[in-house]
Amino acid sequence: MTTLGNAIPRERKILSNADYHRRLARKRRVTFLLLVLPALVWFLAFMLWPLLNMFFISTKQWDGLALPQKFIFLDNFARFLNDKNLGVAIRNTGIHLLVGIPGVVPFAFMLGFFLSLRKPGYRLLRTIFFSPSMISVAALAMIFLGLYRPDGMLNSFLNTIGLSSLNRVWLANKSTALGAIIAIDIWSGIGFYGVLFFAALSSISEELYEAAQLDGAGYWTMMWKIAFPLMLDFFGVIIILQFLYILSGAAQNVILLTGGGPGTATLTLGYYLYNQAFLTQRLGYSQAIAVLIFFVGIAVILLIRRITSRLSNW
């Protein structure tokens, strides 16, 4: 049974327009914070905290996981000045960057452009070029170990074509070891970044190419006069990815194949960090090197972004 009292609406507070919007904004803020909170907690716990720890440990003398730590403030950074190996590592990393970026990114772009033309068989080629990225690092190292051995495939090939005078112990020769390591990164990098470029280039309308072809443009012109300017931002991203890989990730091949040797021929910053942390057990100093790499990384990323954005505007 319905009563009259139940039918009468309760008195409601009438909000002013400003109050309503203020309350709505507050509600949205709370909702936003609640939605962001898990990601924020994740970021603080697993990203920011380890990063802060890196800075913290870099101020310590810590000579092994089993040993106590001692606060030495900036002494690890002062050590940079007298560390000849660090100078060698910076030089080798510089060489790696100077060869490894121009040796990969433009060719990857060209490969990506070629694939984006979707000629017959491009799917198979895309898979083949991407396959080095699907091989585990250890397996890749084994492949190149077999290739570079004194009696390996490379020297055998040189013998077969009558160039045995070019035979080298590639990974153990001071003049070829770093080049041999860089070659691995170039070999595997072109295919990987080529497929990334292909994905990005697929967004360019085919009409643009068709119009250019009507004007008599060839593939080379279309690639560099149409695709490249449109891909400039993405080009910058790929350069940053390759730069970051060489700065730290490329150490994996050095660890597996040369251990920084012979002598210091393949000592790079990334490997030196590993060496100081896990082999020499100088944990505080290794984190000081990590801080150096961190700031160099940020500085160069900003530089690359600035250059590519200027070129885009230009």
Partner: protein
């Protein structure tokens, strides 16, 4: 200077007899199993003696017999690569998840384990558990810190001799070289006969041991300690030793491309019978092909003119393996005690000696001489001197990077001056 006319003096006193019996001073025999209603205790053990290692089978048989004799204790063993074990233990220890016992060599970071609380010193346990006077002095010394703490129970010793292939030498018409001049002559003739001379792992960490052995062949023990330990590579005998190394290298005493050869491929090439000499430790005794055994003669590295040594040099030490007790193990000390007393029974250690040619850490081990690996038996009668194993002297921070210098030293064209400068720089950088 320790003359190692017979390594047996520190290993097997009972080896001469066909089959000796345990002495009265041995630890108590295997206890008779007793029924128990208590919860079983699990002992977790990390080691690297897997099925591919000659010591794997005897170790598993000991585990099996121990569990049969002690129904209340379960052994849970995990096999890892030897070089990976220290870091695994250290990270596990940080989470208090380390194994109860660790079988690992006393090289590198384990040297810090006692100070860092990752492993307990065993001085008192040796006394309390009835092992006083049982271990050889050198085995205990090799596990003792400067402050007198014994870091672990020594388990595996080794000799690290030079292996000569007499068939190759005979084909070249030469005898086993006793001097470096004879070595150069032999290498030339061996090459002419279609074989390769000395193989070693120039590309990895094992090559540094041959490098330092050759360098030490020109040095006294005192000078070797100064150079290897203190980094004083300016002393005349150290300079002479490095010059000797480059002289041998440039005389093509080593196989072609030695700077690119790793330990595994070096092993393979020697065992294929294609090379005159190699430098393998006792751990390879069980890996030598049977058909090659009659041709292998063990000895030391030839000496240069004016060497302070009387006999060719080899390495020998007991640091290859120790049993380390962790804090988790200490919490199960009764079970650990039973296991340690079980595995260190002379008849148990004898299994490793007979089946794997392991140099035992105990003074009295009853072995059946007929069961011994022929190379192990041969190693007991070598007329050699023991040089300083670099592991004892290289500062912990120098040790991991020493191989990069030795690898460069194996590379043709690297001068003695460059090697000496690199060695000095290595010690300077790691002070």
């Amino acid at each position: 200077m320790l003359v190692l006319l017979v390594v047996a003096s520190m290993v097997l006193s009972a080896c001469a007899s066909a089959k000796a019996t345990p002495t009265a001073t041995n630890p108590p025999p295997t206890p008779v199993p007793t029924p128990t209603t208590a919860q079983p205790v699990t002992l977790t053990i990390w080691h690297n003696w897997g099925p591919d290692d000659a010591k794997g089978a005897p170790l598993q048989s000991i585990f099996k017999d121990f569990m049969a004799a002690n129904p209340g204790i379960i052994i849970k063993d995990e096999v890892y690569v030897d070089a990976d074990i220290p870091l695994k233990v250290e990270t596990a220890s940080a989470a208090k998840q380390e194994p109860d016992l660790v079988f690992v060599q006393r090289v590198g970071s384990p040297l810090n384990w006692t100070e860092g609380g990752i492993a307990l010193p065993v001085n008192d346990l040796i006394k309390q558990w009835g092992f006083e006077g049982k271990f050889t002095d050198v085995a205990l010394e090799n596990f003792t810190l400067a402050d007198g703490k014994i870091q672990a129970f020594p388990l595996e010793g080794y000799t690290w001799p030079i292996w000569y292939n007499t068939k190759v030498l005979k084909a070249a018409g030469v005898e086993i070289p006793m001097t470096t001049d004879q070595l150069i002559d032999a290498a030339t003739k061996v090459r002419a006969a279609g074989y390769q001379p000395v193989i070693a792992s120039g590309a990895d960490g094992m090559g540094q041991y041959l490098f330092t052995l050759i360098v030490q062949s020109a040095m006294s023990d005192e000078d070797a300690a100064k150079a290897l330990g203190d980094g004083d590579w300016t002393i005349p005998s150290a300079v002479k030793g490095v010059q000797l190394f480059t002289q041998l290298r440039d005389a093509k005493v080593f196989v072609d491309g030695i700077e690119g050869i790793d330990f595994a491929s070096g092993n393979t090439r020697f065992f294929e019978g294609k090379t005159m000499m190699s430098h393998f430790g006792a751990w390879s005794f069980g890996e030598a092909p049977k058909e090659l055994l009659p041709d292998i003669q063990l000895g030391g590295f030839p000496l240069p003119a004016g060497s302070p040594h009387k006999f060719p040099v080899i390495y020998s030490a007991f640091t290859a393996k120790g049993i380390w007790i962790t804090p988790n193990g200490a919490a199960k000390m009764e079970a650990v005690k039973k296991f340690i007393q079980f595995i260190y029974q002379p008849q148990m250690i004898a299994r490793f000696v007979e089946q794997a040619g392991m140099t035992p850490p105990l003074k009295d081990v009853p072995v059946d001489a007929t069961k011994l690996n022929p190379l192990f038996s041969q190693s007991l009668t070598m007329q050699v001197e023991v040089a300083k194993t670099p592991d004892f002297f290289l500062p912990p921070k120098v040790q991991p990077n020493f191989a990069t210098v030795s690898q460069e030293a194996f590379t043709p064209g690297t001068t003695a001056e460059k090697i000496l400068a690199d060695l000095t720089a290595l010690y300077e950088a790691n002070k």
